[in-house]
Symmetry: C2
Subunit: 336 residues, 2 copies
């Protein structure tokens, strides 16, 4: 038997444990071209909150009483496929459960010579690609420009800032604790960072961005974003990746309208999701892998131990508890 996690109620506002339920079910047996995969790491991500609502979006909502899915790293236990063997490490979009039966086309092997397995859920996975394409394809930072990143110590934000630094930009991060602020400046090389919980964001941003803001990488929305618009330079670009501060708002997400700011500065806001760039994933992964190998890209993970902690790890995202990528470790990788 194994455990799995189902969504049983659509959260209203902040999700609670009562919205989820653990079930015990049989592990099952793979048939022709299938694999039995033991879950090693589960990715918990802010965007999953959106899928828990029953609304049209870029990705269909989770169905009630179904197992939640997200990025997963697993190890093959039994293979009925000629393309995989027991012990292989694989990744795919799999269920929140201890074991999965998957088709051979649903997962791909990962190369742990390049980076540890968990990196494929963060810097070398969707997280890194989200940062890469959002910043470079929409934000288009140029050397000497000012790039502001919110959620800067988070999984995506921390990579965005480092890529922007690599492009020669002046990079300012916004995060929610002094530890995170120090991490951004001391460890990741950000030029400045702001603790939005203890500083007046309007004043701090104004002080940190004496030349205005050319690129704002949006991860959080809400009042932090409101403070950015008055500082935009002409032809500023705003990749809109996330709005975690507002995901749990119950119809009360109002703030200054942005139209006049955009007109005055001819600025651009572009919502996106990493899936828009699927035809270019290999380009992005190669570039990120190269930055990683040459020491230009550091990443951090907040790893929570144990399948039973998965819901807590997810709920912690909305408390700002993680630095870097939030991952649940479900089992150990077994040596081949």
């Amino acid at each position: 038997m194994q455990k799995q996690i189902k969504l049983i109620k659509r959260p209203v506002g902040l999700p609670t444990k009562e919205d989820f339920e653990y079930h015990e079910v049989a592990i099952g047996e793979p048939t022709e071209s299938q694999l039995l995969v033991r879950t090693v790491y589960i990715s918990v991500d802010p965007y999953l909150r959106g899928r828990m609502n029953d609304v049209k979006s870029y990705i269909p909502p989770f169905e009630l009483d179904s197992v939640i899915t997200s990025g997963v790293i697993g190890q093959v236990v039994t293979s009925k496929s000629t393309q995989f063997k027991a012990g292989d490490l694989v990744m795919g979009s799999l269920g929140w459960q201890q074991y999965s039966i998957v088709n051979e086309t649903d997962v791909r092997k990962i190369d742990t010579d390049l980076a540890p397995a968990s990196a494929y859920l963060s810097v070398l996975g969707m997280t890194g690609l989200t940062a890469y394409f959002g910043l470079l394809d929409i934000g288009k930072p140029k050397a000497g420009e000012t790039v502001v990143v919110s959620g800067a110590a988070g999984a995506v934000g921390s990579i965005v800032g480092q890529i922007a630094k690599d492009k020669g930009a002046y990079v300012v991060g916004i995060a929610g604790s002094d530890d995170k602020v120090n991490y951004l400046v001391d460890q990741l090389g950000f030029d400045a960072a702001i603790n939005y919980k203890t500083e007046d964001v309007n004043k701090a941003l104004d002080a940190a961005c004496p030349n205005g803001i050319d690129v704002y990488f949006e991860n959080v929305g809400g009042e932090i974003a409101d403070a950015v618009f008055p500082l935009l330079n002409n032809f500023a670009r705003i990749p809109v990746c996330g709005a975690i501060s507002t995901y749990n708002s119950e119809g009360n997400n109002v703030g200054p309208r942005v139209q006049e700011y955009l007109i005055k500065t001819s600025s651009l806001m572009q919502g996106f999701t990493v899936g828009n760039y699927s035809s270019r994933f290999s380009e992005g992964a190669a570039a990120l892998g190269k930055m990683l190998q040459t020491g230009k890209l550091q990443y951090n993970e907040t790893v929570t131990d144990g399948f039973d902690q998965t819901i807590d790890a997810f709920l912690d995202l909305f408390k700002g508890a993680n630095t870097g990528k939030a991952i649940v470790k479900v089992s150990e990788i077994e040596p081949n």
Copy 2:
């Protein structure tokens, strides 16, 4: 002697007559390479409201106690330039006064064989170019897509809708009276139009756009814009041209934040001003001239008679009193 209009106070909220003052001054004499030009038509435009505030924008604010400037058509009275002769019709950015002394490089001749002189302030001038570049360069409407235009019976909006129809789009206009709604559908060929003053814009838009919204040409901002965001299709485009409903708001312009809508649909908002496209004006003017000659482009003017009515014509813009381009006729064109 002649009259001129100066800005003497920065308007708070809606401008009033007390913010302006008429002065009597000498007409003056042109010197070498200069012209004396008699004002024929003055363009009154919503964007001028922004220049009356003392804030950084794409165009510097008007200085207090200075003559207001905007697009003007004039007729040469006396020429000290070899490039112009008395009787020539010219256009330029000139003062709100009955006569101007201008350098020969500040104005250019217009061709009244192609269209009446006033058209160079509307469909063949900045107004038409604003519609042309905003819609085609940012909105990029494709055949069969749904294009929504606010301020649809206004100078820019009425041209936007016609260009969108020419590109094969399904075009829905939002305007402020039944007369305007009828004009859009019956005269300009819009597929549908909504009177935001008598209809529930949310419901009416939903009904008028059964396939969602692919392009929203933003002229008005405020609650009308708020109603558009929930109906955006994936990869929608929003050229942000104006926000007339909010120009006179006194720091109270709040509404639903747009980030989540942009993320869910990977939509784009791009503020712009026609000056961004100055290197392509001849392309735009040629395309608009061709549409005009082939009968694909109709335009409407609200012409107010008399220099003394200039302030009223400007204030009327914010009451939605005009259909098409608002112009003040200051003097008659004299035959050569």
